[in-house]
């Protein structure tokens, strides 16, 4: 039996799973990835933007061959109310190193490419098979049961995504993650001619825009809207916290529809054709929801481990998934060298993560999720900024007021104490 065992079985062919397979197979380990969808990426979606750094370290120059959409050179952040928008617009024309760049991506193509890379170096993939449960022996994970077949492995890497069914069964992931910690995203992929996208978003060839919106898209709840430009499509979506969703007077699909029809957005999508509608849960609690990451014969990576950062002006998950997949693979390689696949033998996973940006950044922003639940950020502040702008830019012949007075009037509506309190909280959380 032991001779037949894989060094590692990986559950899920997303970014964490494919990267783990690539790193393991490259070092000669015997690795099998099991994916329930018909191909890698068929169950996956993203906003989405991939920060290149973590994959760049594993496959240098990957963006030249991978099916990335556009390199992000434009960043926009907009405070949105139902009928106004105040936008911060940053164009980055400076040259960047390959680890500083980021790309818009679509996961259907991208994940298949990554799976092919792992296959090239010897990883095996089975698609269209669901792993139903893990096989444990004396408290140690020794394999998986997939569609009636028992497959044995020295280690199992769970890269099963944000909804870690197997991790929960093992008791490593808290069975009921507080819904407060989660947000739901909905996205439309809208097709437009390449030139139209470039004209409307002021982009040159292969340049892309990342645009986030706070305020009305999430109907005053924690969350926001987003637009990412791809080659011949635009990814448009909203993310909304589940904390107060029961009391919302709008459904999530309605939020997306209203966002799409906002007077800022609508002209940008005119004539576009819907190609796909997708949804996903975003694990937003940061460090507070990270589960037990390693146990006897098993490791948890990517979204399943809650590795996601919402910093307000950017949301990251894919670069963390990639780094955690790599760390898990390295830990399995160490265990393989020492012939010890116990929790202790695999513990370098934890250490590698602690020493990497994954845990360092999660720790840095650990107070941010709580701060983001301040409803004022999504209600009062977008309105305040819009009111200030309206006062500044409206000339109707009535007696002008000193700018200072105008500003103070609008700040007073929110309350000075709230501004100071949220200001301090916000600054210390970031």
């Amino acid at each position: 039996m032991e001779e037949e065992a894989f060094d590692a079985i990986i559950v899920g062919a997303g970014l964490a799973g494919c990267v783990a397979a690539y790193v393991l197979a490259k070092e000669g380990a015997d690795v099998l990835v099991i994916e329930r969808g018909n191909y890698a990426g068929s169950k996956n979606m993203t906003g989405g933007r991939l920060y290149a750094h973590s994959l760049e370290k594993i496959i240098p120059g990957f963006a030249k061959e991978a099916p990335v959409e556009r390199k992000v050179t434009k960043e926009k952040v907009t405070f949105l109310t139902d009928d106004t928008g105040v936008t911060l617009d940053y164009h980055n024309g400076r040259s960047q190193t390959s680890t500083q760049e980021s790309y818009t991506v679509l996961r259907g193509d991208f994940d298949q490419w990554l799976m092919a890379k792992a296959e090239e170096v010897g990883a095996q993939f089975i698609t269209g098979i669901r792993v139903d449960e893990l096989i444990t022996k004396d408290g140690k994970v020794v394999g998986v049961n997939a569609d009636g077949d028992e497959l044995i492995a020295k280690a199992v890497i769970l890269a099963e995504g944000v909804n870690p069914v197997l991790g929960e069964k093992l008791g490593m992931v808290k069975p009921k993650v507080n819904a407060d910690a989660m947000a739901v995203g909905a996205k439309e992929l809208i097709e437009l001619p390449k030139e139209v996208i470039q004209d409307r978003f002021n982009l040159s060839d292969d340049e892309g825009a990342a645009w986030l919106f706070a305020g009305s898209p999430s109907n005053g709840l924690m969350g926001g809207g987003f637009i990412y430009t791809n080659q011949t499509t635009v990814s448009l979506g909203i993310v909304c916290g589940l904390h107060d969703i029961g009391s919302s007077d709008k459904t999530v699909p309605q939020m997306l529809e209203d966002f799409k029809n906002h007077s800022i957005i609508k002209p940008l999508l005119e004539g576009g054709k819907l190609l796909e509608y997708s949804g996903h849960v975003v694990p937003e609690a940061g460090l507070n929801m990270v589960p037990k990451l390693v146990d006897d014969g098993v490791l948890i990576t990517g979204d399943a481990a809650g590795f996601c950062l919402n910093i307000g002006y950017t949301v990251r998950g894919m670069d963390l998934a990639i780094a955690s997949g790599e760390a898990a693979a390295k830990a399995v390689l160490t265990a393989r060298a020492n012939k010890d696949f116990s929790a202790q033998g695999l513990s370098s996973y934890q250490t590698l993560l602690e020493d990497s940006f994954v845990m360092k950044d999660l720790k840095l922003y650990k107070n941010l999720p709580a701060f983001m639940e301040t409803p004022r950020i999504f209600n009062e502040y977008p309105k305040m900024v819009a009111d200030i702008m309206q006062s500044m830019f409206t000339v109707d012949g009535s007696e002008s007021q000193p700018l200072r007075k105008t500003l103070m009037k609008h700040c007073k509506e929110v309350g000075y104490m709230n501004l100071i309190k949220d200001g301090i909280k916000g600054v210390t959380a970031i």
Partner: protein, 95 residues
């Protein structure tokens, strides 16, 4: 404010392999309505419907497999939540 969204039309452009006769999500009988309303609001696929006469209607066929309902109501009004069997369910062509 725009018109009421028709999610079914949006789901219509997606590619699904429906596992006929094997729903992967099953609701409890007579679910608590406060809990149910959370799902009416949160499900991105709009699968948890509330009819005008107050009755509920749910069909897992257009499920995007996001898990929102499991996080919100997995221990209250969901009898079963599992992923569809291999090859079945949503198949994102773009993602």
């Amino acid at each position: 404010m725009t018109e009421t969204v028709n999610v079914d039309v949006k789901l219509g452009v997606n590619k699904f392999h429906v596992d006929e006769g094997h729903p992967h999500i099953i609701l409890k009988d007579n679910p608590n309505m406060t809990e149910y309303r959370k799902l009416v609001n949160a499900c991105p696929a709009g699968l948890y419907k509330l009819e005008e006469d107050g009755s509920i209607r749910f069909d897992s066929a257009g499920c995007l497999e996001c898990g929102t309902c499991k996080f919100l109501c997995g221990d209250t009004i969901l009898e079963k939540w599992e992923y569809p069997r291999g090859t079945f369910g949503i198949e994102y062509r773009y993602g």
